[in-house]
């Protein structure tokens, strides 16, 4: 433990984040355990069954889901990565000047072609 403390750089800007992480985890886990500990518990088959507005469940819950959601997730990865590339560029924009601006127009332009393609293919439509 003493060895561990010596390796911690307390002046690091991320040190408070670490403290916060510990506090947040303890709070979250503690709340779940507290909730388990304080409430009464009486088993009842109806109460513990799946909630479907009072009707007996007809089919298991693991139904097939629309492939649309998968498509949205893929598009998200694409465009969020784009956003991540834009951040450092945005911070340095003034020092990059016209060169950086044109570079980014090309980069965003290619991604826009992708968006238009997904749009035209109907990936963004919900029926």
């Amino acid at each position: 433990m003493a060895g561990f403390i010596e390796t911690v750089r307390f002046s690091d800007p991320y040190f408070p984040i670490f403290v916060l992480l510990v506090i947040a985890l303890v709070t979250a886990v503690g709340m779940v355990f507290l909730s388990q500990a304080t409430g009464p518990r009486k088993y009842d088959k109806i109460k513990y069954s799946v909630y479907e507005c009072g009707v007996d469940p007809l089919a298991p819950a693991s139904e097939r889901v629309s492939v649309k959601f998968y498509l949205i997730a893929i598009l998200f990865i694409l465009f969020d990565l784009e956003a991540t590339f834009l951040y450092p560029w945005a911070v340095l924009f003034r020092s990059l000047g016209l060169f950086g601006f044109i570079e980014m127009i090309i980069f965003v332009g290619i991604l826009m072609v992708g968006l238009v393609y997904a749009w035209k293919k109907g990936a963004l439509e919900w029926q």
Binding site: F10, M31, T38, G39, K47, A61, S62, A83, V91
Partner: protein, 365 residues
């Protein structure tokens, strides 16, 4: 050793202050939500809970709710996947608790001869940290939907995660203009930049230099927080309560708490990025300096109080805005929500980046 102790104590003290600020706002928010809804609909709203005869306009209802939740039966449905079911509420609360860390609540102050920033951590990645951490709340939604082993939560969880992902893109892109103007991701730097004046009289707030970015960001924020008019995941007329249908007791209130904390932090972030954070227009370190040249000197302690008070009031206003919008705008249909996200907000935020770049280039040289 005293230096280390000082750092630890300062870290803990900051966390305690910020936590009490946020939880305080959450309590006020849950109360304002019900009371505001009531007054907008011409009702009286909650006014029954009392402590020793004091009712305080129903202010004790959030407290009564928390206590009630704590002593309700906490059951795990037979059909649930126990691990995921238990993990989901933790994921709903822990990330939002962490995301407040980088918001500056005031200028640097001097305590015992040391400069202390009124912010838990001044990270150079700033806003990126907030996005990274709040992005984790999607796991809570997905795990709750999947782990409950029931149809409504599954559908609600899927809808919710698809919606959050869709709007996260335009939320991230709508802020790029702000970074271009203030040349930093560091929130303390962005707030400091907003203290300048444009044309000698207009505060250089984010909303002034990035009006479109502000509208895009706040729209995406509402959708990200699953808030009306985008509260489809919890559309009670079709999905009961969405992804937390199968939750009861304090676990249910953890989802609620996470959601409200998320909104409170969203309000604080909007105030920080677009409304000057702790800046008060024309207030310099020494007192008011008006554009005409007149100045009103103020003691340092009063300046700091005004500045921390200003971010508090701004956050309070944007927290109230959630309630206001909720009872003003009806709910969208799901296809409309997705269309707005991908076909309107995303292209508009790219146009905003382009326009900002053009203006900066023309002005810069």
């Amino acid at each position: 050793m005293t230096a280390v102790l000082f750092l630890v104590v300062v870290a803990l003290a900051r966390i305690a202050i910020v936590f009490s600020f946020c939880f305080g706002l959450v309590v006020v928010f849950t109360w304002a939500e019900r009371k505001g809804a009531a007054y907008i609909q011409d009702r009286r709203g909650p006014n029954r809970a009392d402590i020793l005869g004091f009712r305080a306009w129903g202010m004790f209802h959030p407290l009564a709710d928390a206590l009630k939740f704590l002593f309700k039966e906490d059951f795990i449905p037979d059909n649930a996947q126990r691990l995921f079911y238990q993990l989901a509420p933790m994921f709903a609360v822990a990330p939002v608790l962490m995301s407040i860390a980088v918001v500056p609540f005031g200028p640097d102050v001097t305590i015992f001869g040391r400069r202390v920033a009124l912010q838990i951590a001044d990270l150079n990645v700033g806003i990126l940290y907030i996005f990274a951490v709040t992005g984790m709340t999607v796991y809570g939604v997905v795990l709750a939907g999947w782990g409950s082993g029931s149809k409504y939560p599954l559908l609600g969880g899927l809808r919710s995660s698809a919606q959050m992902l869709s709007y996260e893109v335009s939320m991230g892109l709508s802020l790029v203009g702000i970074f271009m103007v203030f040349e930093s991701l560091r929130l303390s730097r962005i707030v400091a930049g907003q203290g300048e004046l444009l044309f000698g009289f207009l505060p250089k707030w984010g909303v002034v230099v990035q009006p479109l970015g502000f509208i895009l960001f706040i729209t995406a924020q509402y959708a990200e927080a699953n808030r009306t008019p985008f509260d489809l995941p919890e559309g009670e007329s079709e999905l009961v309560a969405g992804y937390h249908s199968e939750y009861a007791s304090f676990k249910f209130s953890m989802f609620m708490m996470g959601e409200y904390l998320h909104m409170v932090i969203g309000a604080v972030v909007v105030a920080t990025l677009f409304f000057g954070g702790w800046q008060v227009p024309f207030l310099a370190d020494t007192g008011f300096v008006l554009p005409g040249g007149a100045s009103v000197p103020l003691p340092e302690i009063l300046v700091i109080a005004l500045r921390t008070g200003s971010i508090f009031l701004k956050s309070l206003f944007f927290t109230w805005l959630y309630v206001w919008v909720r009872w003003t705008i009806p709910r969208f249909r799901y296809d409309q929500v997705m269309r707005l996200g991908w076909k309107v907000l995303l292209p508009l935020s790219l146009v905003n980046i382009f326009a900002t770049g053009l203006v900066l280039l023309l002005l810069g040289k």
